[in-house]
């Protein structure tokens, strides 16, 4: 037994000891004076005992004893009743705290051992368990969606893709994707098993902020569960495209018509004959586009040019073009694959390989066949493919500074249009142009660090901006404090506590156009996903901190009555001694 004696009032130890010594000396002196050597030793002994008892009453000696185990069982969402029962059997005096009912968690520190049952604590509560001995016993999930991934910000015309995982699906049930008004857009049949990956998609037709729904229904169409999917769709700005054609071709003519009809701004310069050109402007004012200069190119998002035209422009203008690409992010689409000689080396990074086949099907459009030139693109580091046929690269681009330079070996695509395959034509060109075009520069990127925001719970998000000292305001005109990242000064972190349900906006002071929209969910939404995320977080958290079970000892103070009795006896002895 390694119990050691300590004093509870150990700070008084020295003064009390000094007092004790003085009293002993005074007593010794007094006894010496009055009765000399007679029974001095006995008296001194009794006095010593009495004083020591007094001293101990003051100092409160305490014995260190191993404390009784204090076990806390914390039950959270999806806990296993069997686990709880067996724990309670083993630890009869364990204290039970129900996390779901928001019970007080402040006395967790006292526990020698904590069992967390179920999916675990929310991220923001985990710090309460820091450096405590915790056993995490995750329970089983109730059937439902535990993983979900989709784009919350979309452009109209985009396909909204929703992917996720459903655990323990019930056979015969279906998962429906419903739009804001409840029209079913896509569905997936659930088949029995441990878990099922699912994917749903729908094109977005209308601009605005909407709450789509993911609903689980049984075979009779009865709604089992429905969770909201907030998403925003916005229409993109039209592109501003510059086209140079060495001679009028059908390809350019049809492309021009297609783009102009889609309300994109176009400026087309096509050579009619030697030194005679035809300038056409669609959906944009006239502008001098006869020569390249940075001011002229600045307006445009994309330059479509055939190599013959590109070769016909002077070296200095080619450099101007390259500068625009590098610095302003202009896109360049080169058509025709004649020789590269006469081009600035910066413009001929894409290499061609001979490939005699003249018909090709693209991997994502297996039904249509496209005619191509007798080349394919050579794979290379940095080359990002846009269209592929098996492993052959048909269209691709590489990045040059902020801009992109790309090309395609597809040719005579206008024939698709004549064949009535309008959709394929539009898709191929849309992909090409969209990938290459200048990106609209964003001053601020808002990133939510959590999938969902809930009422009265912290909602963390980040913003990335080159603005020096960004200021963010809520709709209620409260400023949100931001914390700058230590290593990346462009990154700022913060959290807010939403108070009301529904859509909310955050705005940056420096850029009024940049708006961060988020939807605050009700607490019962997406419970399974939250539980899954909590469980993963908790697992990680508890595996990172390995705290030994602290065998805590308690100091048990010896009751002062005993010292008082000893004191009385000793004093009694002193009183009795002269009577002998």
């Amino acid at each position: 037994m390694n119990t050691s004696l300590t004093f509870l009032n150990s700070s008084w130890f020295w003064p009390a000891l000094v007092g004790w010594l003085i009293l002993m000396l005074v007593f010794f002196w007094k006894e010496w004076k009055t009765s000399g050597r007679h029974r001095l030793v006995l008296k001194m002994l009794l006095a010593g005992i009495a004083l020591t008892s007094l001293l101990l009453v003051i100092l409160e000696p305490a014995l260190e004893k191993p404390a009784k185990d204090k076990v806390i069982i914390l039950i959270t969402e999806h806990f296993d009743q069997d686990q709880l029962d067996s724990l309670q059997k083993k630890h009869k005096e364990a204290m039970l705290i129900d996390y779901r009912q928001e019970q007080d968690l402040l006395n967790l520190k006292e526990a020698s051992q904590i069992f967390v049952l179920g999916s675990g604590l929310a991220d923001y509560d985990l710090h309460l368990l820091e450096n405590l001995h915790v056993d995490f016993l995750p329970g089983q999930f109730t059937p439902g969606i535990i993983k979900l991934n989709y784009n919350k910000q979309n452009q109209t015309g985009d396909i909204l893709n929703i992917r996720g995982e459903f655990v323990r699906p019930t056979s015969g049930r279906k998962l429906f994707l419903e739009d804001a008004a409840g029209n079913a857009l896509d569905s997936v049949k659930l088949s029995p098993g441990q878990s099922q990956q699912f994917s749903l998609s729908t094109p977005l037709k209308v601009q605005g902020d909407y709450i789509y729904k993911l609903s689980e229904k049984d075979s009779t169409g009865q709604l089992i569960k429905s969770d909201p999917l907030p998403l925003s769709a916005y229409t993109s700005k039209p592109l501003d495209i510059l086209i140079f054609a060495y001679q009028p071709t059908f390809e350019i003519k049809y492309l021009k018509n297609f783009l102009a009809e889609q309300e994109h701004a176009l400026a087309v310069k096509s050579r009619i004959t030697r030194n005679r050109f035809k300038y056409e402007y669609f959906n944009r004012p006239k502008k001098n586009i006869s020569r390249f200069n940075s001011a002229m190119l600045e307006d445009f998002d994309l330059l479509i040019i055939d190599k013959a035209s590109l070769k016909s422009i002077s070296a200095s203008q080619q450099i101007t073009l390259l500068r625009s690409i590098e610095n302003d992010g202009l896109g360049l689409l080169m058509l025709g694959n004649t020789e590269d000689s006469g081009l600035n080396p910066g413009l001929k990074d894409i290499l061609f390989e001979t490939d005699r086949t003249s018909e090709v099907t693209l991997n994502h459009l297996p039904e249509e066949s496209f005619s191509k030139e007798a080349f394919k693109l050579q794979p290379k580091f940095g080359l990002k493919e846009i269209h592929k046929s098996d492993s052959d690269i048909i269209s691709a681009y590489y990045r040059k500074g902020k801009g992109r330079i790309g090309t395609t070996v597809l040719t005579q695509t206008w024939q698709l249009k004549l064949e009535g395959k309008e959709e394929a034509y539009q898709q191929v060109w849309s992909e090409l142009l969209e990938q290459l075009s200048k990106r609209e520069s964003q001053t601020i990127i808002w990133t939510a660090m959590q999938q969902f925001a809930f009422i009265d719970e912290p909602f963390k998000f980040e913003l990335q901006t080159s603005i020096k000292d960004p200021k963010v305001w809520t709709e209620e005109k409260y400023q949100v404090p931001l914390r700058q990242d230590l290593y990346i000064p462009e990154r700022w972190k913060t959290r807010i506590y939403p108070k009301t349900l529904g859509w909310h906006e955050l705005k940056a002071e420096q850029d009024s156009l940049s708006v961060f929209k988020y939807y605050v969910h009700q607490n019962q939404d997406w419970k399974n996903i939250i539980a899954y995320q909590n469980r993963e977080n908790n697992k990680r958290f508890f595996s990172e901190q390995q705290v030994e079970k602290n065998q805590e000892t308690n100091l048990a103070a010896i009751h002062p009555i005993w010292f008082f009795i000893v004191f009385l006896l000793a004093i009694g002895g002193l009183w009795f001694e002269p009577k002998l």
């Binding site: 452009q155 109209t156 015309g157 985009d158 804001a180 008004a181 409840g182 029209n183 094109p203 037709k205 209308v206 601009q207 605005g208 902020d209 993109s236 700005k237 039209p238 592109l239 783009l259 102009a260 009809e261 889609q262 309300e263 994109h264 009619i272 004959t273 030697r274 005679r276 050109f277 035809k278 056409e280 402007y281 669609f282 959906n283 004012p285 006239k286 992010g329 990045r399 500074g401 902020k402 309008e422 898709q427 849309s430 992909e431 090409l432 142009l433 969209e434 075009s437 200048k438 990106r439 609209e440 520069s441 964003q442 001053t443 601020i444 901006t465 080159s466 990346i488 462009e490 859509w503």
Partner: protein, 741 residues
């Protein structure tokens, strides 16, 4: 005493009647439940139950049970009553002594016996039937099979009276005028022969040109009633308590009623659809006739035309338009005529089966002439009839004298010598000879025929040369072999003889010519090259036969046919020879056409261009041009899309609709009604709801959701379009891009 016996009988009778009545009731209940469960309409089932009970009553006739019947029944069922219960029906005073004794005895026995006798009834069966029927009905009701069987009257939302909603919801508290009755009368155009139709349903489906009139009868003071439709607002005329209006249907569309009561409040009704059916054109089907028919000159040139014409309201006219073309090239002549069917046409019938036998000969058609014809039908639509026509059919009488296609584009080399054409000449001569039969002496006729036969022979021999038949002897050999073939075909048993005779005869009659011919052949053969007689040079392409195997076979056949032609000429039977000649001519034509050799045409070869002179042309009038254009795309869904967005916001807010919203919804409604014209059923509800949104003061969130749902459904799939994407390009990105380069 007998009175007690009679009482017993009366009791028994009553009991019997009661049981029969019960039976009737059970049957009725059974059917009532069955129909009730299945149809869900208890009124009908009640009616049916009554009918069934009446029917069963008529069968069972419980009122026909009288005491006579009862006594008979009891007598039959008991052997102790000695068939005497009938006595109980009589007064004791009327009976004889023995009878009275018997009456008393029977009366006694009856009181005990009657307990064992049961009246005749099928109560058990009736009960079982009732339970069974009710069970079946309930089962049907429970499983829901009736829901889609059509037995159950589906509730038609339009069948009820017009539902007027006050535009200002505060008006609900005040008494609103009530619509007493409504009526829509559709008068179809007279040609349709459809009767006038009156209905209380306000959705109209009628033939184009129908007149529709509405009668509305209101109870209460009304200021004015108007009819709002896609065409505008039309006030209804007041006639007594009725409000009347009518219009002639031209296009599909929608309408609704709006009325103002005396206090100035307005009410609108639901939106109703007008679906205008256009009168369809007649449908013509022609059976069992090939698009292209060709006849030989000697066939029966008849075409049997069977056609079935159908129309939705009635056919007025049907006829055949036939065009005969004669000649070819520039001299082609057309003659068009209208033919009537052989079958009489009954006007106004919806389906006609018409027949026509076209005699090509009666249409003055000769070989080479072509007939084009089609059937045209008109229906009885007024004022302008629908007209439709069938495909065009062709009939051709083959022209055997036709050369076939000329070759205008290439330079053909005609390998055939001129005398190939003499087969045609022979035919002409033969025809001429036939026409002269009887006019010239027989002697002359026969000799001309024989001469023609000789010509035919010399023609055959010339062709024989092309076949590589070098000498007459060899021809004879081949002939004999072919003759054998002919024998096999059983053509003419005389042939063997005629041949022998023929060669002699030939020598007799035309020896000079023939000899000369023969000699000449020999001479040339001998004179030119003596070795040639001994060699058979196949290697020399000039002397080798120029035809392919197939052609050779064809020519061989032609030669054989010529034999037959010659035979009949020699036998002075030019008529019989003529078909052979025609056949031979046809074959020769074939050979000639296929043996044409086409020589590549020399095209235009431009002189080489001097590079330095290129693009040095005069560009004075060629100017650089500039063009500026703004293309306005007409998005037919702009307001619908904006409305969807606005509704989403409304849904989550206080549902207060502003004036701007109303006009937005109005515009969306206009856009949607454009879509709805093509597909009225699909958008009707949404249009009605949009109307409510624009008119009503207080709206419910369900309405907003329904409208949004409908609008979202109406927007079609977007086509792919390049979009401008956005990107953040920060310091980190710059660093990475630099590092990559």
């Amino acid at each position: 005493m007998n009175s007690t016996g009679k009482t017993l009988l009366i009791q028994f009778k009553k009991q019997w009647q009661l049981l029969l009545w019960l039976e009737v009731v059970l049957f009725a209940i059974g059917f009532f439940l069955l129909i009730g469960f299945l149809s869900g309409n208890w009124l009908w089932s009640g009616l049916f139950g009554i009918i069934i009970s009446v029917a069963v009553l008529l069968v069972k006739k419980p009122w026909k049970i009288d005491l006579q019947k009862v006594s008979k029944h009891i007598d039959h069922n008991s052997n102790q009553l000695e068939f005497s219960t009938g006595l109980l029906l009589h007064q004791a005073e009327e009976l004889s002594g023995v009878a009275q004794l018997q009456q008393q005895k029977i009366s006694k026995i009856l009181s005990t016996e009657i307990k064992n006798i049961k009246p005749k009834h099928h109560l058990g069966a009736a009960l079982l039937t009732a339970i069974l029927l009710a069970g079946v009905g309930y089962l049907g009701f429970y499983t829901g099979v009736t829901n889609n069987s059509g037995l159950k009257p589906t509730k038609d939302p339009n069948s009820g009276s017009i539902n007027f909603i006050p535009t200002d919801s505060s008006a609900i508290e005040v008494d609103k005028p009530v619509l007493n009755s409504q009526e829509v009368t559709i008068t179809y155009p007279p040609y349709t022969n459809l009767p006038k139709k009156t209905a209380s349903r306000m959705n109209i489906k009628a033939v184009e040109g129908s007149t529709v009139s509405w009668n509305l009868n209101f109870n209460g003071p009304i200021d004015s009633v108007s009819l709002e439709s896609t065409g505008g607002v039309k006030p209804l005329q007041k006639k007594g308590s009725l409000y009347k209006g009518s219009t002639v249907l031209e296009n599909s569309g929608f309408y609704n009623f709006k009325f103002k009561d005396s206090t100035g409040r307005t009410y609108i009704s639901d939106l109703y659809a007008i679906e205008v059916l256009t009168d369809q054109s007649p449908v013509i089907r022609i059976q069992d006739l090939k698009q292209f028919t060709s006849f030989d000159f000697n066939e029966d040139k008849n075409l049997n035309l069977n056609s079935i014409i159908t129309d939705d309201f009635g056919i007025n006219k049907a006829y055949i338009i036939a065009t005969v073309s004669k000649g070819s090239g520039e001299s082609v002549k057309f003659r068009e005529e209208q033919l009537q069917f052989d079958t009489r046409i009954v006007k106004g019938k919806k389906e006609l089966r018409l027949k026509k036998l076209i005699h090509l000969d009666s249409m003055n058609m000769g070989p080479g002439d072509e007939l084009y014809f089609y059937v045209e039908a008109k229906d009885n639509r007024f004022p302008k009839a629908n007209r439709s026509r069938s495909q065009t059919y062709f009939a051709v009488i083959k022209d055997t004298t036709d050369y076939g296609m000329g070759v205008e584009t290439g330079m053909g080399v005609d390998l055939m010598p001129d005398y190939f054409r003499s087969q045609r000449q022979l035919i002409i001569d033969t025809k001429k000879l036939i026409s002269q039969r009887g006019k010239i002496p027989t002697q002359k006729f026969n000799s001309t025929s024989n001469e023609l036969g000789f010509d035919q022979k010399s023609l055959r021999l010339k062709y024989g040369q092309f076949m590589g038949d070098e000498a007459e002897g060899s021809i004879s050999q081949t002939e004999s072999s072919t003759m054998g073939e002919d024998h096999d075909h059983g053509e003419d048993p005389l042939e063997g003889y005629t041949h022998d005779h023929d060669s002699e005869n030939e020598h007799n009659l035309v020896e000079e010519t023939h000899d000369h011919d023969h000699d000449h052949d020999d001479e040339t053969a001998g004179g030119e090259n003596s070795i040639e007689n001994y060699m058979h040079n196949h290697g020399d392409p000039e002397s080798a036969t120029l035809f392919t195997d197939n052609l050779k076979a064809k020519l061989r056949r032609a030669l054989n046919i010529m034999w037959d032609a010659e035979l009949h000429l020699r036998l002075n039977e030019p008529e019989q020879s003529l078909p052979y000649q025609y056949e031979a001519l046809e074959l020769i034509q074939d050979i000639k056409n296929s043996a044409r050799i086409y020589v590549h045409r020399i095209g235009f070869d431009p002189p080489p261009i001097k590079e330095e002179a290129r693009l040095s042309g005069d560009l004075e009038n060629v100017n650089t041009m500039r063009k500026q254009e703004t293309i306005e795309t007409t998005d037919n869904f702009t307001y619908i899309k904006t409305s969807i967005k606005r509704l989403e916001i409304l849904k989550r807010s206080d549902l207060k609709i502003s004036e701007a919203d109303r006009s937005l919804f109005q515009k969306a409604r206009e856009e949607l009604s454009q879509q709805a014209i093509e597909n009225p059923g699909r958008y009707l509800t949404t249009l009605q709801e949009l109307k409510k949104l624009t008119e009503l003061q207080n709206i419910k969130v369900e309405l907003v959701r329904e409208v949004q749902k409908g609008l979202l459904k109406s927007i079609p799939q977007q086509t792919p379009e390049p979009q401008k994407t956005s990107q953040f390009y920060g310091e980190l990105d710059v660093t990475i891009m630099k590092a990559l380069e």
